[in-house]
């Protein structure tokens, strides 16, 4: 179980002012599938980076299965079982897709095993395994490889920052399936930052982060209707006009 206790994070903006990006966030993530959503700029990605150890919180504690990991490095947290799929995957000149998956798995793996992870994210493994993780791969391909590295790690906490971004409509259904399967096979918590209704729909719980604070957190059944009901005045207009065209 991952617990955030009174987490705050502030950073200096370009004009030298200190900006509070996260304010007193307390959340308990039990095992299961938890979606984190909310408006852009609300602090979701920052929260993910605080969990992964990339940012140190300015206040508060992070507990993993009761152990205080607030002062642990990225590496130490990874070794204790936190995996993080970046929103914008990093490119490497020279490292191949297989290298990345091998490093993620933490041991030498066969081509067959590496291919298995790639097929799960909808990539035809044979075409990708030897390719360099460089600019020759599209954004969508990189995103899927990023997700495959988290699958290969198979840790108790898997954190995804907007996995759907950059993935085309055709692969999206497949992606949902990947997460459903992860949910079944992986005991542990899957935390997904997402704006996609279909991803929110397969979650057990939903957290809404807005303006650096927890606006709502609870069972999907309680949160979603309110969330989807609150926004759509604009969408309704859109729907009406589409109907009008029909």
């Amino acid at each position: 179980m991952l617990e955030l206790e009174h987490i705050s994070f502030s950073a200096e903006s370009e004009n030298g002012e200190t900006k509070e990006i996260l304010q007193d966030i307390s959340l308990k993530f039990e095992d299961g599938f938890i979606a984190i959503t909310g408006p852009n700029g609300g602090g979701k990605s920052t929260l993910a980076r605080v969990i992964a150890g990339i940012h140190r919180p300015t206040a508060g504690r992070i507990l993993l299965d009761g152990e205080d990991i607030t002062d642990l490095s990225i590496t130490e947290r990874a070794r204790r079982g936190i995996s993080f799929a970046f929103q914008q995957p990093v490119r490497f000149k020279g490292l191949t897709v297989q290298d990345l998956i091998r490093l993620a798995a933490g041991k030498d793996i066969t081509v067959g095993e590496a291919c298995d992870y790639l097929s799960q994210v909808g990539l035809c493994a044979r075409d990708y395994i030897g390719r360099e993780v460089n600019a020759s791969l599209s954004g969508g391909e990189l995103k899927r490889i990023e997700i495959a590295t988290v699958l290969a790690r198979g840790t108790k906490i898997s954190l995804f920052d907007e996995p759907e971004a950059g993935i085309d409509l055709w692969s999206f259904g497949n992606l949902i399936h990947v997460f459903e399967k992860m949910h079944q096979n992986l005991g542990g918590s899957i935390l997904i930052i997402s704006h996609q209704e279909r991803i929110l729909n397969i979650a057990d719980k939903v957290a809404v982060i807005s303006g650096g604070k927890v606006e709502a957190y609870g069972a999907k059944e309680d949160i979603l209707p309110e969330l989807l009901g609150a926004v759509p005045s604009v969408c309704k207009v859109l729907n009406d006009s589409v109907k009008g065209v029909e």
Binding site: F92, L95, L103
Partner: protein, 305 residues
């Protein structure tokens, strides 16, 4: 041969015992073994140190090994090797030099290799440089490669200097004929106080001549590197040169790519990028459980693979 020399041979030429095919081994400035085949002849030069390697037209799939090893401190070895590759041949040539210097005098090998590649022939040329030994004596190498590519021929050149050479000046001069192409991949790593200079000049003289000169380098500690490439497009041709370097510690790298288009249909591109390892790259590998040091190693090894 002693075990030190055998060890060097293994590193620079993947040689365990005697290789298949033609070979000529030079150890401490003298011949230490030679084998020719029905299609490949190797003769000692009579006017200066070195050998002529003559490959018959149409020879396919054969390999020539010509490694040089030096384990004697203070040896200054200069050698001229000329390769005559017959029309339509398709061969692999593995050269390389290993120096083991435990003494305090300079050990040096200067190899001048000239290739005459016949019509429609294909050559893969692999060259590895390596130095070891705790002595204070320098381990220096200055390879010169001269390439003449006849109509329709191709040469792929892979040069690697991964460790232990204190000072190197590599010079490559190539003249590329009609429909011929030259591809060069250089991999270079310097550390300590080492200095490496590479200098490529390619003249694209024939119609449809092409070249791709790619260098990947890592400079660690206080080492310094200079990369120069000059592609002259003198006809309808395609040329590309790229230098990519990772900078670490207090190292310095200088890249000077130059392209000269002397013909309206010459299409030439140069690229050069030097920089330290991106923080995001380290971070990503750390989220996979690697320490910062391990992450750095993986990135460097992958880059020079």
């Amino acid at each position: 041969m002693q075990s030190v020399e055998q060890q060097l041979l293994k590193i620079i030429a993947d040689m365990d015992g005697t290789p298949e095919g033609a070979y000529n081994i030079r150890a401490n400035g003298t011949a230490a073994g030679r084998q020719t085949t029905a299609n490949i002849d190797i003769k000692s030069k009579t006017d200066k140190p070195g050998i002529d390697i003559v490959i018959r037209p149409g020879t396919k799939g054969e390999t020539v090994h010509i490694p040089v090893v030096i384990s004697q401190s203070g040896l200054n070895d200069l050698v001229y090797n000329d390769f005559y590759i017959g029309e339509n041949a398709d061969v692999t040539i593995m050269a390389g030099c290993g120096i083991h210097n435990c003494g305090d005098e300079e050990s040096r090998h200067d190899g001048i290799h000239t290739f005459y590649v016949g019509k429609n022939a294909h050559v893969k040329y692999i060259e590895r440089h390596y130095g070891e030994g705790d002595g204070t004596g320098g381990k220096n190498m200055n390879p010169t490669t001269v390439v003449h590519l006849d109509e329709g021929s191709e040469m792929e050149m892979e040069t690697t200097q991964i460790k232990g050479i204190d000072s190197t000046k590599r010079m490559t001069r190539a003249v590329v004929g009609k429909d011929a192409s030259l591809v060069i991949h250089e991999k270079l790593m310097t550390h300590g106080e080492q200095h490496a200079e590479t200098d490529f000049t390619v003249d694209l003289n024939g119609e449809n001549a092409g070249t791709n000169v790619v260098s990947r380098a890592v400079a660690k500690d206080r080492s310094t590197q200079v990369f120069r490439s000059n592609i002259n497009g003198n006809n309808l041709c395609n040329g590309h040169t790229e230098c990519d370097a990772i900078l670490m510690d207090q190292a310095k790298v200088c890249a000077i790519p130059e392209i000269n288009a002397n013909h309206l249909d010459a299409a030439l591109i140069h690229e050069a990028a030097i920089g330290k390892i991106a923080g995001e790259q380290l971070m990503k590998l750390m989220t996979l459980g690697l320490s910062e040091r391990e992450a750095e190693e993986e990135i460097v090894n992958g880059f020079l693979k």
